[in-house]
């Protein structure tokens, strides 16, 4: 299923540092190291989830690989073609093959454009439709996203959040892209609507074979939709593994605490204390050695001086000096033990909704 020999997307050493300018002369006094040296591949029809706490650079990664933000360095290959050094015009044409779905369905649609206008834009721009068959094409894309033809004449403010997100998905799908970056596509929605949208994304992927880079902090959704997961911490990938392996046996201490820290509805339930303490350190002045060491429960002297590189450990790729020793330490504490009750319940809900939509189809 995951054919990484011929990936749709191949990101190599992607880096984005934002300069900090101060004073009257706007001198560069430092850098925010939002994304550093991030590499991953996504196969056709595959979903790679990028998870991490807010500010870890996951959205910046998504935008930099689409060149909505110009990356500082690194290379992005889409179907074997280099995207990073395309001219402005070539890049605009390449956007046909790579699209994005935004988190905020309220802010990401132009309020002065009807749905028809919003959808005709990519259709006409990339020659997918001609003015003659535009109406039919718009209707087709709307239907694909569970909307009707009459929705085309409406403005975004006339829709609910879930419907708006469908319009956002329809816009991204209009040109039948090879890759869609989903930047927290369901985090702004009600839990009940989340399941619908997640299912819609899965249906579309199955029909059209689109690859997703699914940026999220919601582990239940990630577990449900992703084939592989990359965990980011302070601008770097610290662990990457198949979704079921990552949730069954997380190897990086950060991944473990992330899974344990997923929110729970009952504050009285005793919490398993592997939650990380303190705030994430500043990306302006990342810690020496392993950037996680100030918060790591198992850090040793070596972690403070030497940055661990990503390396193979079992079925995962991990950037931790202690991945192997942890492996022994963690045996037995696998699978559902890590997933707290809320996570499990939400996962079950998503799966039930999926089953239901399969039955009706």
């Amino acid at each position: 299923m995951t054919d990484l020999a011929t990936p749709v997307l191949d990101v190599r050493n992607l880096t984005k540092h934002f300069p900090i300018r101060r004073g009257v002369l706007r001198r560069v006094v430092g850098n925010v190291e939002a994304v550093t040296d991030v590499s991953f591949k996504v196969a056709p029809g595959e979903t790679l989830a990028v998870v991490g706490e807010s500010g870890c650079g996951k959205s910046t990664t998504g935008r930099a690989l689409l060149r909505l933000i110009e990356p500082t360095s690194g290379q992005v290959m889409l179907d074997g073609a280099d995207v990073t050094n395309l001219s402005r015009n070539a890049l605009r044409q390449a956007r046909r093959r790579m699209q994005i779905i935004f988190q905020d369905p309220y802010g990401s649609l132009n309020p002065r454009m009807t749905v028809r206008e919003a959808l005709s834009e990519p259709l006409l721009l990339h020659g997918v439709a001609t003015p003659a068959n535009l109406d039919a094409k718009v209707a087709e894309v709307l239907r694909l996203c569970g909307l009707s033809k009459f929705h085309a004449e409406r403005y975004p403010h006339e829709f609910s959040g879930g419907q708006r997100q469908r319009v956002g998905i329809a816009r991204a799908l209009a040109t039948r892209p090879r890759l869609i970056v989903c930047d927290e596509p369901v985090s702004a929605l009600d839990v009940s609507v989340q399941a619908q949208i997640v299912n819609l994304l899965q249906d579309i992927q199955r029909e059209l074979g689109i690859a997703y880079v699914f940026i999220s902090h919601d582990l239940a959704v990630v577990r449900h939709i992703a084939n592989r997961v990359a965990v980011m911490y302070l601008g770097r990938i610290v662990e990457e593994a198949a979704a079921k392996d990552l949730f069954a046996s997380p190897r990086h201490p950060y991944t473990r605490s992330l899974i344990a820290a997923a929110p729970r509805p009952d504050p009285n339930v005793k919490r398993e204390r592997i939650a990380v303490e303190g705030d994430a350190p500043s990306a302006m002045a990342p810690p020496s050695g392993c950037s996680f060491h100030p918060r790591c429960p198992i850090a040793v002297e070596r972690c403070k001086v030497e940055r661990p590189v990503l390396r193979q450990a079992g079925t995962s790729t991990v950037a931790c000096h202690l991945a192997e020793s942890q492996d022994a330490h963690m045996t037995g504490a696998v699978d559902k033990h890590h997933l707290n009750q809320t996570l499990i319940r939400r996962l079950e809900m998503l799966q039930a909704a999926r089953q239901k939509s399969r039955d009706t189809a």
Binding site: R63, L66, L68, R92, Q93, R95, R96, Q99, I100, F102, D104, G107, S108, L109, N110, P111, R112, M113, E121, P122, L125, H126, E140, R143, L144, C145, G146, L147, S148, F150, E153, R154, Y155, H157, E158, Q163, G168, R171, Q196, N199, L200, D203, I204, R206, E207, S357, R358, T360, A361
Partner: protein, 300 residues
């Protein structure tokens, strides 16, 4: 196509009635104050356009019947509906011609200054690299009061409508640029701008369809409010004798000439002043209502 349909059936489309939306001008007329203001404006514009046909007398020739009061006052006559001024010229006819010149000065000045200023402001928000330079330039322009600018231009080019228009247009540019920029900066921060880029739009398309379309109604309301101000400043310049030179009729100038007779024939100064007041008020109300109907979020 059939493969696509299976995905679509997975989620049932939500059936609703298609919305009925008012055409914007219907919505505009539904607002009573705006409807009245619009009608008043139309009458004024029509009156000034067809002034040569409507005017009962030649507005520039004097007659022996000086300082005749308007028809509703004692000693008034239907011969001169709004009376005559100190030189015996028919005020009604002079109002028609005067409004014409006042409107032309206002519309041309606001049009030139508003379009140029808004464009500079929008560009400044769109291309952030030119923003600091553009805004410092606007600060420089902003430090010239329109009246002073008018005085300077008249000193160079001599009195007349053209220097007044130029002065008013220049004084409109920085205000419009600042307002347009501040509106546009807010719009540029919205995610749909990035979404437009992601779709693959060129700068020109993004500027027109995303930025301009989301700023135009707010800029319009500012320009229409500014129109009232410009009419006022224009009238003030004429009042000071900088604008149109006699015997040309201009509302500000008419008010200035009536000033000498204010005690025994107040109508000569009051009638053009009231006319200015009505134009400014009607323009402001219309502009305000126009904003409401042009914004689809307020419209329904």
């Amino acid at each position: 196509m059939s493969t696509i349909e299976t995905a679509a059936t997975a989620i049932q489309p939500i059936e609703e009635d298609a919305p009925r939306r008012l055409v914007w001008w219907k919505a505009l007329l539904a607002d009573r104050a705006a409807a009245i203001a619009l009608i008043v404006l139309l009458i004024i514009v029509a009156g000034s356009v067809f002034a040569p046909l409507i005017a009962p007398h030649n507005p520039f020739t004097s007659s022996r019947s000086v300082m005749v009061p308007p028809v509703w006052a004692e000693r008034g006559s239907w011969e001169h509906i709004l009376g005559t001024d100190g030189q015996g010229r028919d005020i009604f006819s002079r109002i028609l011609y005067g409004t014409r010149l006042t409107l032309i000065i206002g519309v041309v000045a606001v049009g030139l200054g508003g379009v140029l200023g808004s464009l500079l402001g929008l560009l400044s928000a769109f291309y952030k690299s030119i923003d600091p330079y553009m805004m410092r330039l606007m600060d420089m322009l902003l430090s010239f009061p329109a009246i002073l600018l008018g005085l300077a231009l008249v000193a160079v080019f001599g009195a007349g409508a053209v220097p007044v228009i130029i002065a008013l247009a220049i004084s409109t540019v920085p205000d419009c640029a600042r307002i347009a920029r501040s509106i546009a900066v807010g719009v540029m921060e919205q995610e749909f701008i990035e979404a437009g880029r992601a779709v693959g739009l060129s700068d020109g398309q993004l500027f027109r369809r995303y930025l301009l379309r989301n700023c135009i109604s707010s800029i319009m309301i500012f320009i229409s409010l500014r129109f009232g101000q410009v009419i006022l400043i224009g009238a003030a310049l004429s009042f000071l004798g900088l604008g149109a030179s006699p015997p040309t009729a201009e509302l500000g100038m008419m008010a200035a000439q009536g000033r000498d007779y204010l005690l025994f024939a107040p109508h000569i100064a009051v009638i053009p002043s009231v006319m200015i007041f009505i134009i400014v008020l009607a323009a402001n109300i219309t502009g305000d209502a126009l904003r409401d109907v042009l914004d689809p979020r307020i419209r329904n």
